[in-house]
Each structure stands twice: as C-alpha cells, then as structure tokens.
Amino acid sequence: MATIIKSYEPTFWDKLYIPALVQGLLVTFKHLLRKKVTIQYPEEKLIPPEGYRGLHRLNKDANGRIKCVACDMCSAACPADCIDIIPGSSPWDDGKERYPVSFEIDLLKCIFCGFCEMACPEEAIELTEIYDFSDYTREKLIIDKDGLLDVYDKTKDKNYYSNSQNLTIKE
C-alpha cells in the first residue's frame, strides 16, 4: 500500500524569500556580537584542560639522565602494544643498573589511554598536553628515545603526574 506524501507547496509569502533572508541574517548579527568560540589555529593554540593526554615524554632525573629503567611495565600495560624497549646495562656505575638502549613508541598505534604512565614505577614516562604532532610519513611518527627526551626538554617546567589526582594512592 503506497502512501501518498504531499509535497510542500510554498505560499505567496514564502515565495517572496525576503522574510527568510532577514531571519537568517538576524542569526548572523546576533552571533557577531557574542564571544567567539573558534580560535585562529595555528597562530593561537587551545590549552587543553588538566589531565589531557597527548604526546609522551621520557623524564630525566636530577643528573639529567634518563629516568626510565627499562622495566617493560609500560609496554606490558599498553593495550595497543605500541611500546618497544630494548633494555641494557646502564653505562653509569652509581646506583642505576639498567636503562633502555632503545625506546620506541608507535604514535599511530597509541590510543593515548595513559596506561603507560600509570604503570611506570619510576615516574619516567608521562603524557604531555602536546597534541599537534602530525607528520607526513608513518616512520616519522614512531618516536624514539631521543625524541621522547626532547619532548621532556620542551615541557620540563610541567609535572603532569602531580596534576593527575587519581594517582594519589590512598593509604
């Protein structure tokens, strides 16, 4: 059984088009006077809220050495399986025995869940608020140890762990 749908028949008033035009322009002028919601990216940048999870960094300790001890906790916790670490005996003979010879994160695989920073026993890996790191090839989006340490140098005034409330363990 076919239903007959009557198509809309414009009235004379509609056919003038001017009232609709005025109506539309009213919306435009209303917003012209309000506060803007868009920003002029990339000249202006949005500051993400606290706890935002962006590009990773590998922290350095007080001596400027890499904090990571290559324990593989982060790669074990990573649901995307995108962290690849080759551990080795560290070249320093005081205290720290182990460090990552190579540390790579495949940013294309990463889902930015932050499990890696949760798992890290050394507070060595953190997700920063950097979100604009697109590139032209897949290879360039595999970030290595030096790259991750550079991110730390760029963001070292910030401590993302202390921002994150759910990391305080209640006794």
Binding site: V69, C71, A76, P87, R98
Partner: protein
C-alpha cells in the same frame, strides 16, 4: 602405609615422605624457598611452616616426615598425622616470615631480572604485608662476581643456601659458602676459587630470587616478553631436556627442564650458552648454484632438477655424508636415498665429565651419533679410500659444522668430485666449496627425533621459525625421491623408518612426549 590428612584431603603416603612432598604431589600449595627436590633438606627459610596436630609449635613441612604411629596414638583413631596448611595461624606466620625476609630486600623488582618468575615476589604478593614496619636504613652491598658468568646481588639474597648446597652436592666443587655470621652473612666464593665449574649456570636457575644472575641474560629482556618451548639440548649426546625462551627470531636463554631419566633438574654451561654460536651467522636463505666460482640464487625446482640429473643413471656413483648433528629422520632419508656409499665426518672426542651427583657431560659432543648409526647401519669407516675404490664423482653432504676447517682428507675427497651438494643453513667452509647449496634449518629450527648415547629417543622440537626459503632437512631429501617413494609428512616418514628399523617402530611424537622413551621395547606399546 601411613594415612595423612592435609586440610580436607586424606591420603596414604609412603613411609618417610615429607609433608611438603605429599602436599605438592596432591596439589596443595605450600610456599617454600630453601627446599629443592635435588638438594639436601635444611629447613632454613621457615616459609613452609604448617600446623601439625599434637605438636606445640608450627613445623617446617619440608623436614617433617610422615610415619606410621602405634594405634593408640593415632589422631581421631585413624590418621597417623593431621596437618593444617591454610589456617589463620599458618597464614599469619607466612606473613611474619616474609616481613623478616624483606627487611633488607631492596624491592627493586623493576630492574630485577627475576621479576615475573620470582617466588619472593609471588609470595609477597599473595601473603605479604603492603607496608614495611622497618624504618631503619636497609643494608646495602655492591654486586659481586662469583665466577666469570655469575653475579650476585647480595641485597636480594634471602640466604636460603640452595646455591651453596648445589656446589657441594651436585657439582661437588664447593666453591660457594656462607661467609660471616648473623646479620653480616652473605654468599661468597674464595678469590682463588671462583665459581667457574661447568654447572655454574644452574645456580642462577635455582636461586628462588634474583640474587644470582647469569651475566649472559642480565638486563636482556623480561620473562613475560619471552615465549617458551620445550626442546632438547644439542651440545652433547646426553641430550639434556631444556626449555628455550625466545622472542621473535631470537633465543634469549635456555633453562634445564626436569627429566629424571636424563639430566635430573640441571644442564651444563656448554649447552646453556651454546645457542649463541648460531646467532649472526651468514645464513643461506635460498638454493645457491655456483657457476664460474660465483654463487647465484636459483629456485627450488631448478635445484632439485639439477641434482636429479646428476643422480639419474649413476645412483651407484653417489656418496652421501650423514651427520650426527642431524635428526634421525634426516639421516634416514639420506641413507635411504643414496645407493653408493654412506659416510660421515671423522668423530671428535672431547673430555668426558661426570659429577658426584651423577650428572654427566658426554665425551661425544654431538647429539645424535647413536641415532645416526641406528638408521644408517651401512656407514663406512674410511670414506676417502672407499670413494677412491668405487670411483665416486658426486657427493651429497649434510653439513652442520659451522666453525670447522676442512682438513687434508676432506680436501682430497672434495677435489676429486665433479659435483658437490651441501645441505647447510649457513655459509660454512664446506658449503663454500660446493657446487650447489640447499638451505636447511639451523639447530633450533629443526623438528625430529634424536637418540642419546643411552638409547633414549627424544623429541627435538623446533623453537624458531624457518629462515627465508629454507626447508626442513628431511623435506629437502624427500623432494629428491621419485614421486611414488615420497613421504607425505614427518609422521609417515617415522612410520617408514620404523618399518625398516624395528627398534624405531611404533614411534610417534605424541608417544615420545616431553620426556622421550628408551629404544628397547617401550616405543611399541
């Protein structure tokens, strides 16, 4: 037989069984550190405490023996012993013991190689406290080398004395001892008697914590990244059972696997570190044909055709060289294929070592000499003169000796040949002298059976995947047979081998299982 009641379980045990053994055999988990089935009981870690009815204090279950008691002293008029392993008192006691063991322990699991397979970690997680009440500074000592391959991290040691008992009882060399007393005790070796015996690697395995470490594996990987496959060691004709731990295409370590009929719980360092020599070899990935002195890649079909052409019509004029390093299946296939003469490489004898515990390293450092002779009974003694007599011009060699020089005799044989085929996995010296190289599998890639010098057949399992276009060695030889004579798979081949050599009949991988079977008789049933 005494009747023992552990928790709710009533079991009859042999007179003189310990409570711990009885519990473990029946699936009741009692934690322990110092007990090891191969070593003397010392009862020093106190982790295995249980409550025995009628005894005023908790007892160490590893050193409490069950025996028959007179009827009037039976508990409930029935049991010879009643043991509680899970009640509150026992659990609390485990907590206390762990608190003591962890007093000076650094809790550095993130950098410790034992993490993931550490009993201290596991039991602390299961029974221990989340916090330590010990506010004082922990005792810190530097790492020390006990031998060339073994490092000790004193801070992690719980002084269970397994390692010292191992060197006293198993290797009989007594290098390790507990130095000093009480709070200052530590495991040590004398400077002029380092832990350098050929069983030293085992102490790193039996250490229940991460105190003793093999320098070969230290900071190399994490146990949860590694996969494990059971296999057999191929470095001497004892054929110790092993577990190979690997990630992707690389083996990281070998550990001994228990087999009371072969190696007990241990393995020697020759085998333990032997896998390294197969790393970073110049591998052969595709069949190579030499023309004008230069090797070029050819397809499998062409390679097989070239060999068949040489063999056809001149079957009697072909010599085959089998190898004690290859599996029974591969040797059998070559032995059956070659109608001329079958020979093998001259045999290298090394030192035979037997330890007081009975652990043996055979003088024959090849895994399958016995099996090779079993499945190729026609091996000639003097290959060179036989080749002369029969005017052999074509030779097919199974090569496995990556570091071997070609000696005079071999040089003489090779220069006489019109056509040399070498089945190899790496560019050995012998392979370089060949006209045609067929890529087979490396030792940890092979699957098949090997027979140790006691006549025990064991299942050699492949651990790593094949490399490039290389193929299983028996399969390569299979291609050289006429279509009707080929085997469809390795199981068929084993059946065929059994038909020809009755001592191997009835053998299947499934029957051999993890522990292997002796040749005489048991294979058939």
């Amino acid at each position: 037989m005494p009747l023992l009641k552990i928790d709710d379980l009533e079991i009859e045990v042999k007179n003189g069984t310990t409570v711990l053994e009885a519990a473990l055999e029946n699936g009741i988990d009692i934690p322990y550190y110092c007990y090891h089935p191969a070593l003397e009981i010392v009862g020093s870690c106190r982790m295995c405490l249980v409550q025995v009815e009628g005894m005023p204090k908790l007892q160490v279950s590893c050193n409490t023996f069950v025996g028959e008691v007179p009827p009037e002293r039976k508990v409930d008029g029935n049991f010879d012993m009643v043991v509680q392993t899970q009640n509150d008192l026992v659990i609390q006691e485990r907590k206390n013991i762990l608190e003591f063991l962890l007093l000076n322990h650094p809790l550095d699991c993130p950098v410790c190689d034992q993490a993931g397979e550490c009993y201290l970690q596991d039991y602390s997680f299961k029974f221990g406290n989340a916090h330590s009440r010990f506010d004082e500074d922990k005792r810190v000592r530097p790492n020390e080398y006990l031998g060339s391959q073994i490092v000790i991290n004193h801070n992690r040691c719980i002084l269970c004395s397994r390692c010292t008992r191992f060197t006293r009882e198993i290797s009989g060399t007594s290098e390790l001892f507990v130095d000093e007393r009480g709070y200052s005790s530590k495991i040590a070796a004398l400077e002029d008697r380092p832990l350098n015996n050929l069983l030293a690697g085992n102490v790193a395995d039996i250490c229940p914590v991460g105190a003793l470490l093999s320098t070969d594996y230290v900071h190399k990987n994490r146990i949860w990244n590694l996969q494990k496959k059971s296999s057999v060691c191929q470095d001497c004709s004892v054929g110790c059972n092993i577990d190979a731990f690997y990630q992707k295409r690389k083996i990281f370590r070998l550990n001994p696997r228990e087999n009371q009929d072969v190696n007990g719980y241990f393995m020697c360092d020759i085998g333990r570190y032997g896998f390294h020599r197969f790393e970073d070899l110049e591998r052969v990935a595709r069949p190579l044909f030499k023309s004008n002195g230069i090797f070029s890649e050819i397809s499998w079909d062409t390679a097989i055709e070239k060999i068949s052409n040489k063999f056809n019509g001149a079957e009697e004029k072909v010599a085959g060289v089998v190898s004690p390093f290859h599996t029974n299946e591969t040797n059998f296939m070559l032995g059956r294929l070659i109608k001329g003469i079958i020979g093998t490489f001259p045999h290298i004898e090394d030192e035979e070592i037997t330890y007081p515990s009975g652990f043996r390293i055979s003088s024959d450092r090849s895994p399958n000499k016995r099996g090779m002779h079993d499945v190729c009974p026609s091996i000639v003694d003097d290959l060179a003169s036989e080749i002369n007599d029969k005017e052999i011009r074509v030779i097919y060699i199974l090569d496995n000796e990556i570091d071997k020089e070609i000696d005079e005799t071999w040089n003489k044989i090779l220069t006489k040949m019109d056509f040399i085929v070498v089945q190899a996995y790496a560019m050995t010296r012998l392979a370089k002298s060949a006209h045609l190289i067929l890529p087979g599998l490396a030792p940890f890639e092979r699957e098949g059976t090997i027979t140790n010098d006691q006549g025990r057949v064991q299942w050699l399992r492949s651990v790593l995947p094949n490399n490039g276009e290389s193929r299983p060695d028996w399969e390569i030889l299979n291609l050289l047979y006429k279509t009707g004579e080929r085997f469809s798979d390795i199981n068929e081949l084993m059946k065929g081998m059994g038909e020809q050599f009755p001592s191997y009949s009835g053998m299947t991988f499934f029957k051999l299982g993890d522990q292997g079977l002796p040749l005489n008789g048991n294979l058939k049933t």
